[in-house]
Amino acid sequence: MILFRHECRLLLRQRLTVGALALLALLTMAALAGGMAEVARQRAAIAAIPAAHAEDIGAIADYVDRTKDAGSAAYYSFHPTWDAPAPLAFAALGMRDISPYILRVRALGLEAQIYDGETFNPELALPGRFDFAFVLVFLAPLFVIALFHDLVSGEREAGRQRMLEALPNGGRALLRRRMALRLLLLWGLLCLPFMIAAASAGVAVSAVLIVVAIVAAYLLFWAALAALVGRLRWSSVANAATLAAAWLVLVLIVPTLANVAINASIPVHQGAEIAMAQREAVNAAWDVPREATMRRFYADHPEWADSAPLGPRFHYKWYLAFHQNGDARVADKVHAYRAGLEARDATGRSLGWVLPSVGVQALLTQLAGSDLAAQLAYQDRIRAFHARLRAFYYGYLFRDRPFAKADFDRAPRFKDVPRG
C-alpha cells in the first residue's frame, strides 16, 4: 500500500498528467451536467403537456357539445403521448434528440401520424450530443493513450530500463502497479461523478454497476492495446502516434465505413412509400360505394358489424372506418419497414462485439432507453393507445350515442410506463 502511495505521489508530480486528469474530470462533469439539463428540459416539456392539452380539448368540447357529435370529437381531438426519459437517459441521449418524445395522435389513420417528427435544429444534431457516452467512447481512450503510451518506453528513454529489469521478476510488479494506479484514477474520475449523478437521478443500483463495469472494461481494452504497442519496443513518440491512429480507426473510421456498408447492404423501403400508399388507400374510399368500405371494415372488426346501416348523409363512422382500412392496407409495408430498421440496428449492434467503441455506445443507449429499440417500443405504445382511442370513439359512433362535454373526460389517457 505504501508503494502505491509513493507511486501516486510520483504520478501527480507530472504536470502533464495532473492536467490531463483534471481535464477529464471537468469534461465528465460538464457532460453529465449537460445531459441532466437536457433530460430536465425533456421532462419539463412532458410535464407541460396536461395544461396545454386541457386548454385544447376544452375549446373543442365547447363546440362539440352543441352538436353532441362523436365524429367531430374524434376528428378534432388530438391526444398526447410521450416517452418519458429513463433515469439513465442523461448519460446517453442516443436518438432522443432527433426522434420525437412527444407525439399527438387522433383516432384517424395512424400511419399518417406516427412518423411525424419533432422540431429540432438539424445543425445542432449533426455532430452528435456531448454526453457521458461521448466522453467515455470518444475522449477517454485519448486520456488512456496520453497516460499509458510511455510507461515502458519512457523508462527506456530515461535510461532506467536496465535498472528496472534488474528488479525481481523484471520489475513487472512495478509496471503492474503503475498501470493499475493509472486505470484506477481514470476510472474513478469517470465513475465518481457518474455515480453521484446517477444517484441523484434515481438510477437503479444494478444499472449503475453495469455502467461502471462497462467503463472499466473499455478503459482496460485501451490500456491493453497500449501495453501491446509498448511491447514492440518502439520510442514513446511512435507509440503515441500508433495509438492515436488506432483510436482514429476504431472510433471514427470503421464505424463510418460500417454505416455505409450496412445502409447499402440492408435497403430499407422508404417510409415515404408507406405514407403515399396509405393516403391512396384512405382517399380512394370517397370514390367507391360506402357499403363496400363498411363491409371490408366489418370483416376485420366484426364487433361493430351490428351497427345501423349508413343513411344518405355523411357519417363519421364511415370516415373513421376507411381510415382504419387504409392503415390495414399498408400493414405489410409497415412490417417490412420496421423489419428493415431492426435489421440495420441489429447489424450495427453486432459490430459492437468486435468494435469496443460501438459496443459501449450500443450498451449505454440500450441501458438508457434511448436507442432504436426504445423508439420502436414507444411507437408500439402509441399504437396500443391509438387502438384504445379508436375503440372509445367507435363505442359512440357505431352505437349512435351522443358525445357530451363530460365524455371528453372519459377518453383514454396515455399512461407513462414505469422504468427502472
Binding site: G34, E38, A45, H53, E55, D56, Y63, P80, M95, I98, S99, I102, R104, Y115, D116, G117, T119, N121, P122, E123, L124, L126, P127, G128, R129, F130, F134, L139, L142, A146, S236, V237, A240, A241, A244, L248, V251, L252, T256, N259, I262, N263, A264, Q270, G271, A272, A275, M276, R279, N283, W286, P312, F314, R344, G348, S357, Q361, A362, T365, L372
Partner: protein, 479 residues
C-alpha cells in the same frame, strides 16, 4: 536551388523513407476515394429515389377522378427535397432532416423520414463523406507527419548544425512549412478531384465550388502552420505530438459537440405540441369558424354580402363555403408562418452562437462554410420548407377557389342521393395544377452564406502565421 526548397525536399525525402508515413498517406487517399465514391453513389441513389417518389406523387395527384375540390385539399400532395450536386461532397444536415413532406389543407406537416432515423446507431459516429475525411481525418494525418518537423531538429541538436552552415531560422521554418504544405495539398487532392468530378454535373455552381476548394485548402494549410507552430514552441517531439493531438481533439471533436449543446441550452425551441396548441388558440381568438356567432366571420360574411349587393349567402354568385375556406386557410397559414418564422429565427440564433465558437475551432468555421456553400446547411433546409409551404398555400387556395367558383352553394350543402355526383368537378382541373419545383439558390447567395466561415478561417491563418513568424525567431534558443 534555394535553401528553403532544399530543406523542404529533404523533409519530404525523410517522410517518404518513413514507411508508416507513406502507409498513412496512402490510407488517407484510399479513404477519401472510398468516401467520394460512396457519397457519390449514395447521393445518386437519393436523387433517383426522391425523383421517382416525386414523380409518383405528381402522377397520383393528376390521376385523381372527378372530386369535390375540398377532397383534393385533404388528399394533398407529397413533395421531396431535391439535393444540389455539391451534397455529394458535403451532405450536411440532409440525413437529419426529413426529406419528404405531406402537404394538405389546414395543417403544416413536418418533413419526415430522415436517414438518421432510418439507420443503425453507427450514423451518430459520423458519416463517411469527403467533407468528413478532410475536416476530421486529414488534420490528424498531418499531425503525425509534421509534429517532429522542428521539435526533432531541436531535440537532436541538428538545428544548430543547420544554422552553423548559414541557414537562417526563417529559412528552416519556411522549408518545413513548404514540405508539410505540399503534403497537405496532396492529402486534399483526391477530394478536390472528386469535387471537380461533381463540376461536370448539371446544376453545379462554380462560385460555391470555388469557395469550398478555397476553404478546404485554407483549412489544411492552417493545420500545417499550426503543427509547425507547436513543433517550434515545444522542444521535445513527444510533447509536440501530445499537444497537437490534444489540440486536434479539442478543435475537431470536442468543441463541435459542446457548442451545439450550449446553444441548445441558451436558446430554447418551442416543441410541436406547444406550437400547435398556440396556433389553435390564436386561431380561435382571430376568428372561430366553429362558432356561429363569431364576430370575425360574421363581419366577413357581411362584407361578402355587401360586395355582391345581396341579402343572403344563398343569393351570392359564388359558393360561400369556398369563400370561407379561402379565408380560413389564409388565417391558419398566416399563423403557421408566424410560428415557423419564430422557430427558424431561434434555430438561426442557435447556429449563430455555434458560429461564434468557430473563433475557437477552425473546424466549426470550415464546417459551416462547407455546408453553406453546398446548400446543405439549416438555411438550405429552411429554403425547402419555405418553398414547400408557399406551394402548399397556393395549391390549397387554388382548390378553394375552384370550390368557390365551380361548386354551387346549394349542391355543396345538399345531401340527396345525387348530390355527391353534383359536388364533384372534372378531373382535368387537377392536371392543370402546377407541380412543385424547388428553385435552388444562386451561387452568389450560397457564397454569401459561406463568407463568414471563410473570413474566420483567414483570420485563423493570419494569426497562426504571425505566431509562427514570432515563434520561429526564438527557435532553438535555450529556455
Amino acid at each position: 536551388m534555394s535553401i528553403v526548397r532544399l530543406i523542404a525536399r529533404d523533409e519530404l525525402r525523410l517522410m517518404a523513407r518513413n514507411r508508416v508515413a507513406v502507409i498513412a498517406v496512402v490510407l488517407l487517399v484510399l479513404l477519401t476515394l472510398v468516401a467520394v465514391a460512396s457519397s457519390w453513389a449514395h447521393q445518386n441513389g437519393i436523387a433517383e429515389l426522391r425523383g421517382r417518389h416525386a414523380h409518383a406523387a405528381e402522377s397520383a395527384f393528376k390521376a385523381q377522378p372527378d372530386r369535390h375540390p375540398h377532397r383534393v385539399v385533404h388528399y394533398g400532395t407529397f413533395v421531396f427535397r431535391p439535393l444540389g450536386p455539391l451534397a455529394a461532397f458535403d451532405p450536411g444536415v440532409d440525413a437529419f432532416t426529413g426529406n419528404s413532406m405531406f402537404l394538405e389543407g389546414h395543417r403544416q406537416n413536418t418533413a419526415n423520414f430522415g436517414d438518421a432515423r432510418q439507420s443503425s446507431l453507427l450514423v451518430r459516429f459520423g458519416q463517411l463523406t469527403p467533407a468528413f475525411v478532410l475536416q476530421v481525418v486529414a488534420p490528424l494525418l498531418l499531425i503525425f507527419l509534421g509534429y517532429g518537423a522542428l521539435a526533432r531538429e531541436t531535440e537532436r541538436g541538428t538545428l544548430r548544425l543547420l544554422m552553423l552552415q548559414g541557414t537562417s531560422r526563417g529559412q528552416v521554418v519556411r522549408g518545413k512549412l513548404l514540405a508539410l504544405g505540399a503534403v497537405a495539398m496532396l492529402a486534399g487532392l483526391p477530394a478536390m478531384i472528386g469535387l471537380v468530378g461533381i463540376a461536370g454535373q448539371p446544376g453545379a455552381l462554380a462560385l460555391p465550388m470555388l469557395a469550398i476548394a478555397l476553404g478546404y485548402a485554407g483549412y489544411l494549410a492552417l493545420w500545417a502552420v499550426l503543427i509547425l507552430l507547436v513543433s517550434t514552441l515545444v522542444r521535445r517531439s513527444r510533447d509536440a505530438l501530445l499537444a497537437l493531438v490534444a489540440l486536434w481533439a479539442v478543435a475537431v471533436i470536442l468543441l463541435p459537440r459542446v457548442a451545439p449543446d450550449a446553444a441548445n441550452a441558451a436558446v430554447p425551441l418551442s416543441n410541436r405540441l406547444q406550437t400547435e396548441v398556440a396556433v389553435a388558440r390564436d386561431l380561435r381568438t382571430m376568428g372561430d369558424s366553429h362558432n356561429p356567432d363569431d364576430p370575425h366571420f360574421a363581419q366577413f360574411k357581411q362584407a361578402a354580402l355587401d360586395r355582391y349587393g345581396v341579402a343572403t349567402v344563398e343569393d351570392l354568385p359564388v359558393n360561400y363555403k369556398g369563400l370561407l375556406a379561402i379565408e380560413g386557410e389564409r388565417l391558419s397559414a398566416s399563423l403557421y408562418d408566424r410560428y415557423a418564422d419564430a422557430s427558424y429565427a431561434a434555430q438561426a440564433r442557435q447556429n449563430g452562437l455555434v458560429d461564434w465558437v468557430g473563433l475557437l475551432s477552425p473546424t466549426i468555421a470550415l464546417r459551416s462554410l462547407s455546408m453553406a456553400a453546398a446548400g446543405t446547411d439549416f438555411a438550405g433546409h429552411r429554403r425547402f420548407l419555405e418553398q414547400a409551404e408557399a406551394y402548399r398555400f397556393a395549391l390549397v387556395q387554388r382548390l378553394n377557389r375552384l370550390q368557390m367558383e365551380d361548386v354551387s352553394y346549394a349542391d355543396d350543402g345538399a345531401t340527396d342521393a345525387g348530390a355527391d355526383r353534383r359536388k364533384r368537378i372534372a378531373a382535368h382541373n387537377w392536371q392543370a395544377m402546377p407541380d412543385f419545383r424547388f428553385s435552388p439558390p444562386s451561387g452568389s447567395t450560397l457564397v454569401g452564406k459561406a463568407l463568414p466561415g471563410l473570413v474566420i478561417l483567414l483570420g485563423w491563418m493570419a494569426g497562426a502565421l504571425a505566431s509562427l513568424a514570432f515563434a520561429s525567431r526564438r527557435l532553438g534558443a535555450r529556455r
